[in-house]
């Protein structure tokens, strides 16, 4: 009985919270159309790389591999995509290079942690260090994108007031982030792949005895998740700014991890969590003109929020039980 009550409560929460926020947003929209639109657009703009980064973490940790190298994956991708696009004068080549860079870093993480059973934290730290080193070393100033990334107006949807302007008048990567989250959510909880992924992250020996190749699946998942981190980095340098600067990820990869936890390792909740960060950020920059707060505090906000969120989430959400533990066949059976 208690189970049913919590089930209903959870569903009420899942449907009710976004609904409330939506109503609030539209109320605001009718009060001040321009401010509301710009705030929502800003929020999503800020949230896109966080969604993609956090989903990278979700796939990894749900499979049992902790990925603290997302920051480095994103940075490498931002670098590779921007300079490839600049050199080849092709946006497509740039995006491809960015994604490939994310996948390559993912493959490095997979190889060190799954195949070589290295400590996952150390492997992640190594990725971050290597990424900072490489991207700073090969950095050249003066490169430029041939053209800016296209801005699309999705037919019909982009005409919806507020929502259309926020989500559907956007670049390709932001749109990809919007679409991939529900797809991944479905995949995680409603498909064979998802069931197996969750099993190998929770109790790998059970999956092993059921005939699932735990290490192969972990490897593949971590590599595939690299696509998302690659897209996140590409977004930063090509879609959000059209430029690359040293260390431009500025901790977003770690922010993404906080969002992954705040989103309880569930893709749709991750989007909500990222939007929450986005709104907080948009609110702060909006307030800047109104009240007198120094710029530094605004920049600080996401990080302070991260601490607050993690303190709240701690103890309320449960990480996949086997994350961080290499699977060795024949142990625990």
């Amino acid at each position: 009985m208690a189970g049913i009550v919590t089930w209903q409560f959870r569903h009420l929460l899942a449907i009710g919270t976004p609904l409330l926020i939506l109503i609030a947003a539209y109320l605001f929209y009718f009060v001040d159309q321009t401010v509301a639109t710009s705030m929502c657009a800003n929020a999503w703009f800020f949230a896109v790389p966080l969604v993609l980064g956090a989903l990278t973490g979700v796939i990894g940790e749900r499979s049992g591999v902790v990925n603290i190298g997302i920051e480095g994956q994103m940075l490498t991708a931002a670098f590779a995509s921007f300079f490839t696009a600049a050199a080849t004068k092709s946006l497509v080549a740039g995006v491809a290079a960015g994604i490939l860079a994310g996948v390559a870093m993912g493959a490095f993480l997979a190889w060190t942690t799954v195949t070589a059973r290295m400590d996952q934290i150390i492997a992640g730290v190594a990725i971050n260090i290597v990424a900072t080193g490489i991207t700073s070393f090969f950095y050249k100033s003066g490169a430029q994108l041939p053209v800016n990334m296209p801005q699309w107006n999705v037919p019909v949807l982009s005409k919806i007031p507020l929502i259309g302007e926020t989500f559907f008048q956007t670049g390709p990567i932001a749109l990809f982030a919007l679409l991939i989250a529900p797809v991944l959510h479905f995949a995680m909880f409603r498909t064979r792949w998802g069931l197996r992924t969750r099993a190998i992250g929770e109790y790998p020996s059970a999956a092993d005895t059921a005939g699932i190749n735990v290490n192969r699946m972990r490897f593949v998942n971590v590599v595939l998740a690299g696509i998302l981190a690659g897209a996140a980095g590409t977004y930063l340098s090509m879609e959000a700014t059209s430029s690359f600067s040293r260390g431009m990820t500025a901790g977003r990869g770690f922010l993404a991890l906080a969002i992954m936890i705040f989103g309880a390792w569930r893709p749709l909740r991750v989007v909500a969590a990222a939007l929450f960060f986005g709104f907080a950020n948009a609110l702060a920059s909006q307030l800047q003109g109104v009240v007198d707060i120094p710029q530094q505090f605004v920049t600080l906000l996401p990080y302070v929020l991260t601490l607050a969120v993690l303190a709240i989430a701690a103890g309320r959400v449960r990480a996949p039980a086997a994350e961080g533990v290499p699977f060795i066949k024949g142990e625990g059976q």
Binding site: T209, I212, Q333
Partner: protein
Amino acid sequence: MTQAESRPEAARGRPPSTEERVLELQGLSKSYGAVHANSDITLHIGRGEIVALLGENGAGKSTLVKQIFGLTRPDAGRIVIKGDSTPIKDPKDAIRRGIGMVHQHFQLVPVMTVAENLILGHEPVRGGIRLDLAAARMMVRELSEKHGLAVDPDARIEDLPVGAQQRVEILKALSHRVDLLILDEPTAVLTPQETDELLGVLSELAAAGTAIVFITHKLREVLAVADRVYVLRRGRVVGTVPTDETDAARLATMMVGHDVILRVDKKPSTPGKAVLSVRDLVVRDNRRLTAVDGFSIEVRAGEIVGIAGVEGNGQRELVEAIAGMRSPLSGTVRLGDRDITRFNAADTNAAGVGHIPEDRERHGIVASYSIADNLVLNCFDSEPYSRHWIRNISAIREHAIALRAEFDIRSASIDATAGSLSGGNKQKVVVAREMAARPRLLVAAQPTRGVDIGAIELIHRRIVEARDAGAAVLLVSAELDEVLSLADRVAVIHAGKVVAELPGDLVDRAEIGRLMAGERPGVPPTDHRSDGES
């Protein structure tokens, strides 16, 4: 298929002919470092035959069956499945070739439902992609009805009592076509009623042609259900006998290599002052339902109090509350004149409470630590194991060497990881550690789970010795026999309450059975099944 109804009587007690052989092992050997877990093992099993593997803790039973299921590779020798001797690559290969296995340690994902666990690895899908959970539930219901093992397809594994988890394990093994079913100590966590139920299922499966390898430490079960017994000692087959040509005493002797005494001798107790007093304790379980509901008990120095009850009546939560692993909702737990109700596990331990937990894998050992370190988990920070904040390695090693000898822990060295020990030897490590601290109160939940008969005798003797030395012992066991043979006083628990307290020496089994069921004679205590298989 020809003898669908009854067991092939003619096959009983005689090796089946080669054509019928489902499994044949030829000269199988497997070593872990210096330990020869299996040496030159040769055996065979025919269609519809139930073969029991018997042997002390660490004799190599689990190692043997793990190789058949493709979990580890043999160093030498051949495994022939239905005439096919290609090596078994992995569990997937084993499953494909018609082998099902129930593992000694549960292989279930705790946060998933019964249905999800059952379909893992061979999930039904709709439209090529979407998991078909309705079909999965259906499958659980059909299987559960077919074999008469009741489970709720939507229950989460971690909310289920161990007996129900064991049923899920068995159904999982049977969820695909199985010609050879391997069960590694499936009855270690079952109550006698559940055990009988399982033995019935095994006989039915055998009658339908399934070959069964059954590992257990309980000779009664071997004699009740097996056709033949292979006895293993230190990795070798030391003999095989048809069950109708042997008896418990002879099997025990074959296993251990010398005669064993199957009974505990104990003097009447001379209880002193109250050590543990529990008053009106209310504890909730993981689902926040009231599991312990106004429980009161007193255990005095020099006395063993046994808790008898059907599993899932609050025993687990009671033990966890006393041991400081779970906060009670209300009520008090006192140790002597100290109130320890709100103590955590470490403080409870420091106050002089030893705890042998029900689930040794999760709460008893740290699998990746050495045996020596596991033996000081409860005292690593006190003299002499730690001096001025520095661990005293030689004292730790001496302690380990002494305990290994005293409790007959079978391992290559005290530096091996606890995870590499056999199931029963892990249990001995936990028991040894908790008893070595000479606690004022010992809370022992299933203290002999999975240990061989020689070790049961040893552990029972130690518990009685601890009692005679003045310790108070609270014993919780699913084995009524264990409670009755050890306890000086028996408290029957039902629905989280003490329904009766009886002196241990004049207890009538039938009477206890009725009390355990909630004083309603004639009503089966657990599972409310609509119709049973006949």
